[in-house]
């Protein structure tokens, strides 16, 4: 085991993922006996303890401690060794902190939200299991532990999207999520294969240490006259995995549908943690991505397209959770843009602030949905401010943070991303495109967020009578996590920049230290400082955000007749956006239906008609039958006919062999 100056306590590190795992197993296997109360106590306490320990680890890491070591050999075959180990550095620590804090809040929130659901204990088993998987994902020290966590969170996500299994739409969404994710995993798996092939190891450190000399050797792959450098191939393959997990175009289609799951899940898995795994992976692999400009350009381009496109879709959605879901896709796009322009620290910073404010946004939305009898359509809400003051307050903070209004969290991180994209000249037109995409995205984000906000809490009271009798503020188990996350959503941006110093142009001198790698030749944060961009207030992004909010204010607070008129005058565009750019229909046409048609054709024609009827029956059996008919005097019984004919033939063959030999 490798020792560093300050090594973290191994037991403590093992306990952090072990507690949620144990809680998950207990809740899953014995939940039927423990009943609701005991189950949620066990799970909540385990995850809260995990969060406290993670905070402790975070503080130690901040003071320079780290950990690297292997505990277990998973697979071994000749040169191929897969250990299970941990690598705790500053990148890991901030992820652990974010994951466990959000998870703990969601656990407590769940007590109130899922109360009385027949799957209550099962739900707790899943979310604790998720916390374990996510911790494995971020704490591992090699690509296989990453992949293990990656697939495990995918499994839990699948189970939780389809949690209400009576609903056909939920089951379909779960299947869709799993399969689309698997398309990404295919890329990830290929990336791992290539890493082992070229580096002979799958350990982060050993791989990263070799990258520079490896690139200098100029390995390349060839296919049909194409040449692609090995490092680009690896990075692109890994990035396909990241696209699947993090809902990037064109693999984003599953994320909005994942809203079929219970809302705490949308907050924890499909907003704050799991979907950011792709960003984490790209940042973790920064020592590899930095050596491939092509891959970085691809990351930037995909991120920019997603950030912009999903924002346009968010403008017109009417389901409160879908609005937020599209904003998640869009914000993940921002994170990828940050990574693509080599501002990894900013990408992870946005990941963190986003985790707090987006989890808050979802949990507040959940509180609303809970109050209005599980209706999610914002057209049937309005004036909820009167009934739910705490939720209103929480949602306001989250909305301001998401829109990028200072001094709330989102402002700090998003502004840095946009400024970084602005100076990413080394990427050429991709950099320019990314800048305009993320800048205009801010306007749209602010607009759709406050559209949703005003329609829900202000505007006219459109609640159905039945709902109106029921609507009330949520209980404390729901509002307290909201308040805790509000603190994060309000302050984590300031904390990140001023306390952690995440935006230090010399990444190694800022919070992240050596856990991220940026090449000197294209360090956007350094360029920002040189060009004096580092002014936070009153820049373009700020005005974009204010403009978006103002427009939403006019349209959904003041002159509420405008939206309908606007829709009427631009109906085709509205329909196009409402139908999400027709991605689902496109995939149905080009993948789902053809695959089924091909499958059916191969089965009916290939297997049954050609092989069975044609060759075996028509050719083989009939020939043998004809031959056997001549021998019918000698033998009876069908099977023996054939067998005999074959034996004869076989001996003829043998004779030939012997004569020839």
């Amino acid at each position: 085991m490798h020792e560093t100056a300050m090594t973290l306590n191994t037991t403590e590190l093992l306990v952090i993922p072990a507690l949620p795992l144990a809680a998950s197993l207990v809740a899953g296997l014995f939940g039927w006996a423990l009943k609701e109360r005991l189950t949620h106590w066990i799970c909540c306490l385990a995850v809260i303890a995990s969060a406290i320990l993670s905070a402790d680890v975070f503080m130690q890491v901040q003071q320079g401690a780290s950990f690297y070591g292997n505990f277990w050999t998973w697979m071994l075959s000749d040169q191929f060794v897969v250990p299970v180990g941990m690598m705790i550095d500053r990148l890991t620590a901030i992820m652990m902190l974010t994951v466990t804090i959000v998870s703990a809040c969601v656990h407590v929130y769940t007590i109130g939200y899922m109360h009385g659901d027949p799957g209550y204990t099962r739900f707790f088993s899943y979310i604790s299991g998720f916390t374990f998987s996510m911790l494995v994902l971020v704490m591992g020290n090699n690509f296989f532990t990453l992949f293990f966590g990656w697939e495990a969170v995918g499994l839990v996500s699948y189970l939780l999207i389809g949690f209400w299994f009576k609903r056909e739409s939920a089951n379909f969404a779960a299947l869709k999520a799993f399969i689309v994710n698997r398309v990404g995993d295919f890329g990830f798996a290929v990336g791992i294969l290539a890493i082992w092939y070229y580096f002979g190891t799958i350990d982060y450190r050993e791989v990263f240490n070799q990258v520079e000399s490896f690139v200098a050797q100029g390995h390349a792959l060839h296919f049909l006259g194409w040449e692609i450098s090995a490092i680009t191939f690896i990075c692109l393959a890994l990035f396909i995995g990241a696209m699947g997990k993090s809902g990037q175009v064109p693999l984003h289609v599953w994320l909005p549908d994942s809203m079929e799951g219970p809302t705490p899940i949308s907050a924890l898995i499909h907003a704050a943690t799991m979907v950011t795994a792709g960003v984490f992976m790209v940042a973790r692999c920064s020592p590899m991505f930095e050596f491939s400009e092509t891959a970085l350009a691809a990351v930037t381009l995909v991120g920019a397209i997603t950030a912009w496109m999903c924002a346009t879709i968010g403008l017109v959605q009417n389901d409160i959770k879908r609005v937020i879901a599209y904003s998640t896709c869009s914000q993940l796009g921002y994170m990828f843009v940050a990574c693509g322009v080599s501002a990894y620290s900013v990408g992870i910073f946005h990941l963190m602030t986003h985790a707090y404010f987006k989890a808050l946004l979802f949990l507040a939305a959940g509180s609303v949905i809970h109050a209005v009898l599980a209706d999610q359509d914002i057209r049937r809400m309005g004036q909820l401010r009167k009934y739910m003051p705490v939720t209103y307050f929480a949602m306001l903070i989250a909305a301001l943070a998401l829109s990028g209004v200072p001094p709330f969290a989102g402002f700090w991180s998003k502004d840095l991303i946009i400024e970084s994209a602005k100076v990413a000249d080394h990427l050429g037109w991709v950099g320019d495109l990314a800048y305009w995409a993320v800048l205009s995205g801010v306007f749209m984000t602010a607009f759709y967020t406050f559209r949703m906000f005003f329609l829900t809490f202000h505007n006219s009271d459109r609640l159905p009578e039945k709902t109106k009798a029921h609507v009330h503020e949520s209980p404390k188990v729901i509002t307290v996590p909201l308040l805790i996350l509000s603190v994060g959503a309000a302050l984590s941006g300031w904390w990140g920049v001023e306390v952690l110093d995440v935006a230090n142009p010399e990444v190694a001198e800022g919070y992240f230290g050596a856990s991220l790698f940026v090449m000197e030749s294209h360090n956007p944060l350094a360029t920002l400082v040189e060009e004096g961009h580092h002014a936070f207030f009153l820049t373009a992004p700020f005005w974009m955000a204010v403009g978006g909010i103002a427009l939403a204010f006019v349209m959904y607070f003041r002159e509420t007749a405008i939206p309908a008129r606007l829709v009427a005058s631009a109906r085709p565009l509205y329909t196009f956006l409402l139908n999400k750019w027709y991605w689902d229909e496109l995939y149905e046409r080009i993948f789902m239906l053809p695959a089924q048609r091909i499958g059916r054709w191969l089965w009916q024609k290939g297997d049954l008609a050609i092989i069975d009827q044609g060759i075996i029956h028509g050719g083989f059996v009939e020939t043998v039958k004809a031959g056997a008919a001549r021998m019918r005097e000698m033998q009876t019984g069908m099977v023996y006919h054939y067998a005999f004919a074959m034996v004869i033939g076989a001996f003829g063959f043998l004779t030939y062999l012997l004569l020839k030999g």
């Binding site: 495990a152 299994f165 060839h222």
Partner: protein, 525 residues
């Protein structure tokens, strides 16, 4: 001849014949269905316990055959009763003895007619299966290989479904056609290699390329039918669909492995040059199995047929790994066979549980099963996830090792491929997506959804007996998924030896022999 047997006890013979002796005893002395069931269970458990020392006393550091036995059988033709196992065959013996126990438990209530005959068939089948994996004499091997068809034929033909006659004939013809060619090949080798049937002698004898070529084809047909490989796979869905649950378990769990075992025991070490020559051929068929068969599996309406097709697709991985001649790929293939033995067996048992309740295998007849059978739904989820090779399940270890070994194949394999094997691995990796499509789509249609069908509403959840045979399977799948090392350890030395055999040409020695042989022949005359 020095026999390598640490136990100084004919443990292999005991493992082979204990089930048959038990069957004989049951046939003669045990009366009444319930007593027959318990007696058969006792025999199968005893056999399992007898095979355990093979695992415990196995020496992992050597590729030498272990627990060897040798007796003269038919001296006139130099046919011997020669047994022994190495790291390639030993795991299959335990797999067989364990699955037989599970088969007998699973048939407890669903077989009500001719119980005694059914149990006897299974015990005899166990003898032949273990025999195949122990035999080191080609005639003995062939004997068990063929004898196995009879109980299997009866199991499907007597206790099978509506179209059982068609399925049995098809099954019998296919496999017989294959094995007849194998017999020819074995006879040819007997004459060529100097009147011996010893498998180890065949491995050492330098066959020239022409011989290797033809014998390889004969073997290939025999083994490919058993695996089964596209395009000789169409007997399997029929046989599986019609077979009773336990028949499918054995069929998928053990029988399919015999084909791939044949490649590893015969084709690769005996005919290395032909094996290398045919690498592209096998690779193409394997990829067809992965892609084509997966698509076909997706469209199946019958659960058993779907799992049967999924088995063929998984066996595509096995044949692919086998012919890459690298440590990782071959171990991955072997591990894949063992893993598939548990996963596919468990999935067939799952279908059996459903079938016992509604007497239909049509996916469309189910829906919303989780509402009435939550425990079953959870169990089946575990195996479905294992089937899609999720990390943590045994299948993941197998598939990733095959892919690793394929991405980085041996020079011997790569030299015969026109494209880089990387692309082969990448095409095979599409199984990551395809297996999820067919497995989870089926799961969704059968298990999830609201309760709309009256028939499904009346389905009781699993009882303790049913739950009982799933528990060891779950534990094994997870154990092999997170801690495969003990099993891989058993394989290392033998696989390394096998790869050395498969990548070392026999042609030089054959040429040397060819120049020397005429002299000898003259001298003899």
């Amino acid at each position: 001849m020095e026999l390598h047997n640490v136990l100084d006890f004919p443990i292999l013979s005991l493992s082979i014949f204990l089930p048959t002796l038990g069957a004989l005893f049951i046939w003669l002395f045990v009366k009444g269905d319930e007593a027959v069931r318990w007696a058969s269970l006792a025999v199968s458990v005893a056999t399992f316990l007898v095979t355990l020392p093979l695992w415990i006393y196995f020496e992992t550091g050597t590729s030498h055959m272990q627990f060897e036995e040798f007796h003269r059988w038919i001296p006139a033709f130099n046919i011997n009763y020669q047994l022994g196992v190495d790291g390639i065959s030993m795991p299959f013996i335990l797999l067989t003895s364990l699955l037989t126990v599970i088969c007998i438990i699973s048939a407890w209530r669903c077989i009500t007619e001719r119980v005694k005959e059914y149990m006897l068939a299974f015990l005899v089948l166990e003898t032949t299966l273990i025999g195949v994996f122990c035999a080191l004499d080609a005639v003995l091997f062939y004997f068990f290989w063929e004898a196995m068809l009879i109980p299997m034929y009866l199991i499907i033909g007597v206790w099978g479904g509506k179209n059982r006659v068609y399925a049995t004939i098809k099954f019998f013809l296919y496999t017989l056609a294959g094995s007849v060619l194998m017999l020819v090949a074995l006879l040819a080798m007997y004459f060529k290699a100097g009147h011996t049937f010893s498998i180890l002698a065949f491995m050492d004898y330098p066959f020239d390329f022409t011989w290797q070529f033809w014998i390889w084809i004969a073997f290939f047909i025999a083994f490919a039918v058993k695996v089964p490989m596209w395009p000789v796979h169409t007997w399997l869905p029929d046989a599986h669909t019609e077979a009773p649950t336990a028949g499918s378990v054995i069929l998928a769990g053990i029988l399919l492995k015999m084909g791939a075992y044949g490649f590893l025991r015969f084709s690769l070490p005996m005919l290395p040059d032909a094996s290398q020559y045919f690498v592209p051929f096998v690779v193409v068929l394997s990829l067809i199995a992965v892609v084509y068969i997966s698509l076909v599996a997706m469209m199946q309406k019958d659960m058993k047929r779907l799992i049967a097709y999924s088995s063929i697709a998984h066996m595509g991985f096995v044949t692919l790994g086998t012919f890459m001649f690298t440590q990782q790929a071959v171990e991955g293939a072997l591990f894949g066979m063992i893993s598939h033995g548990f996963v596919a067996a468990a999935l067939f048992l799952c279908v059996g549980v459903l079938y016992d309740r509604l007497h239909t295998r049509e996916i469309a007849d189910y829906g919303g099963v989780v509402n009435v059978m939550p425990v079953f739904a959870a169990v089946m989820m575990v195996f479905c996830m294992a089937n899609v090779a999720l990390p943590g399940a045994s299948a993941f270890v197998a598939e990733i090792m095959v892919l690793i070994g394929t991405f980085n194949p041996s020079d011997a394999a790569q030299a015969h491929l026109a494209v880089s094997a990387k692309w082969v691995a990448i095409i095979a990796a599409t199984s990551v997506v395809l297996s999820a499509c067919y497995t989870l789509w089926m799961y969704k249609r059968v298990i999830f959804g609201d309760l709309t069908k009256d028939t499904v509403k009346g389905m009781p959840d699993m009882n303790m007996r049913e739950f009982g045979y799933f528990v060891p399977l779950i534990l094994l799948v997870v154990w092999l998924g997170v801690y495969p090392l003990p099993v891989l350890d058993v394989m290392h030395a033998s696989v390394a030896h096998l790869i050395e055999q498969a990548t070392t040409t026999k042609l030089d020695a054959a040429a040397a022999l060819a120049t020397a042989a005429p002299m000898q022949e003259l001298a003899v005359r």
